[in-house]
Symmetry: C2
Subunit: 357 residues, 2 copies
DNA sequence: GTTAGCACTCATAAAGAGCGAGTGCTAAAT
DNA sequence: ATTTAGCACTCGCTCTTTATGAGTGCTAAC
């Protein structure tokens, strides 16, 4: 069977109608609304064809048709018009993001909230360290004779610190020595390389020194570990219930707990986003996670700098306004990329004000 | 009308029955179940009295009775038996908390999740800085000739840092000078005192130096501001839909968005927790926030050390197993207090391992 | 290839019937 | 003065029935 141009236009009309009304669409309403000048009977014939080809489905015999996942897929790939946001909308997105807090995870969280508010779907955001990180530099600051602060900077310029207390006394000169030791032996190493290095050191160092070193190094390992692990933030889960497909509490419940009780990362969408694509749409069964099998996900990725990418997305029924959602999402993603790219040092954004020269 | 002892026992039986079944309870079922040896007719009379006194309500003429908020209040205050958790349950709570991550906000988040899983109600956690904080100490670490890390330690021993880049060049000696300046002029000041101090300095300092100082100080102000602001984490919102009172999607929706789209702190429960109480129960209309008017909240507060207290709580229908929930919550709160109290320096918990002496 | 017409299907809404849990009241029993 | 048994009455549920109407598939004419 041939997928004629008219069939495509018809499919498009049906998808768009269904996106708005959430009701199965019948031949008649299409005949009236669509610009095409054909009768409902003809449309019925065409619709029967489209159904046979797998693009449409009937919820039951005497209802209208709804798009199948395959139908949505065709729509997304070929039929959908890229939606352009108004200046106003774009400005809003940028404003809020630029304005709000400066910490990486706060920004990401905030971005999720914006997306959710913008689209009326639950949103999620995950930051992914796709690359092996290493420690660039250690600094130790003496606080009093029983405690010091360890400051660790990674090669992606993230800086973390920790206050460490000791039972034994500690002098400035000891600390100096320690700093040198750390900076010569443990910089430039990945997470996996740190443990063996620590072992090697254990052999030819004083017990005392070794103890201190291992304290700081294990803190560094925590940081690397945490930064490389991906975590999901969801926001706006409440929006789910606004949509008619989730009036059924059971259905909503399932999805809701999947989203809010920190999702199992294994099947979570977005991890599979390959490097060259910026947005991705997963329709119904295309999702890996069981809980999302009749749910669609729209994803956009953004650049955090230094080879790291983050992913932000929304979750909703397969009847989703893909065009609009994709546009909004990609705007937010761009805005994020820009925000992070701004000074090449993402996790520690400078103040916009510069000191007097 | 007299509130006899029998009436109280009756009320208690009704509340407990209703907590389990979520159905209005009739005179007959009480007559059978309750240990009291009285007939259903007598119970009917008593129930009519209780209703007149405002402890019970009828959803409609020919249904059983359900407890009114006033009824729950009496139950909570006088009738409820303190629930004791099994050793096993207590151990679990402690284990998970002790085991999991070491960062303040992560712990709090985790605690929320545990509570939610434990009670099957959505939980929230908020950390409250009830006390004015000040900066105890500044350190600046030179990275290269255009950037340095500012490390700031508050009087509650929280340590934060930030990487700062400059257009102008920077030397180690300049940085040294700056550090001294900051430590003499800006330590021990509260958020409000910092701005005037900065102004004073502006008068008699070189423009260059002033610019640098103001960069670091405004970072310090951000920290103080953020630490003093309260924020809410919610978890397990999905559990809401498990309960029959939220089968009505509209009802659920309202509460859900209130909880998940960061709640307006103004009316949020828990802020009013006065110093001497450890747990608090807010029943239906006792809540300030409109969205919670027919919802109950159980709160427990825990000690973060240094005069700071955090609050953790769950949200659910007024038909809530107050005894059990309160017990679990208070166990988690104790566990948290202990966790933080452990070494007197909450936000920067040490490793459990100590270096060899 | 397109359209008009018509019989057929089937989800959904509205209306009615019957059920039964629960109440309030009255009158007898303790 | 309580307590209890008995009984008529209420009213939310559920189940069934009926009606409605949107939508389809098919056929025959254009």
């Amino acid at each position: 069977m041939e997928l004629t141009d008219r069939k495509k236009q018809l499919l498009r009309a049906i998808v768009e109608e269904y996106i708005i009304t959430a009701e199965p669409v019948g031949s008649k309403s299409i005949a009236q609304s669509a610009g095409m000048d054909i009768s409902s009977a003809t449309i019925r014939n065409e619709m029967a064809d489209l159904e046979e080809m797998g693009y449409l489905e009937k919820p039951h015999t005497s209802a209208g048709r709804i798009p199948s996942p395959k139908g949505y897929r065709l729509y997304v790939n070929e039929l959908m018009e890229e939606q352009r946001l108004s200046m106003e909308e774009t400005r809003q997105i940028n404003d809020v993001l630029q304005h709000k807090m400066k910490q990486l995870d706060k920004i990401i969280d905030e971005a999720g909230k914006i997306v959710s508010r913008l689209t009326n779907y639950p949103a999620f955001a995950l930051s992914a360290g796709t690359q092996r990180m290493t420690i660039r530099r250690f600094d130790l600051i003496l606080i009093d004779d029983h405690s010091f602060i360890a400051v660790v900077m990674t090669d992606t310029n993230a800086v973390k610190n920790k206050l460490i207390h000791l039972p034994a006394e500690l002098s400035q000169s000891q600390l100096q020595l320690l700093t040198t030791l750390l900076n010569t032996s443990f910089t430039g190493k990945t997470l996996e390389e740190l443990t063996p290095e620590l072992m090697r050191m254990a052999d030819h160092a004083a017990g005392n020194t070794y103890g201190l070193v291992s304290l700081v190094v294990s803190f560094a390992m925590e940081i690397l570990d945490e930064s490389e692990r991906q975590s999901v933030h969801t926001s706006g889960v409440g929006h789910l219930l606004e949509h008619p497909e989730y009036q059924d509490v059971n259905k909503a419940q399932k999805l809701l707990s999947y989203l809010s009780d920190d999702p199992n990362l294994d099947g979570f969408p977005g991890l599979t986003l390959s490097g060259d694509e910026n947005t991705k749409i997963l329709i119904g069964p295309e999702n890996v996670a069981d809980e999302l099998k009749d749910t669609s996900v729209v994803l956009a990725s953004y650049d955090i700098g230094d080879g790291m990418r983050g992913v932000i997305g929304v979750v909703g029924p397969t009847r989703m306004d893909y065009a609009k959602v994709a546009a909004k999402l990609s705007c937010v993603a761009d805005s994020l990329s820009q925000l992070f790219g701004q000074n090449g040092l993402p996790p520690c954004k400078d103040e916009p004000e510069q000191p007097h020269p």
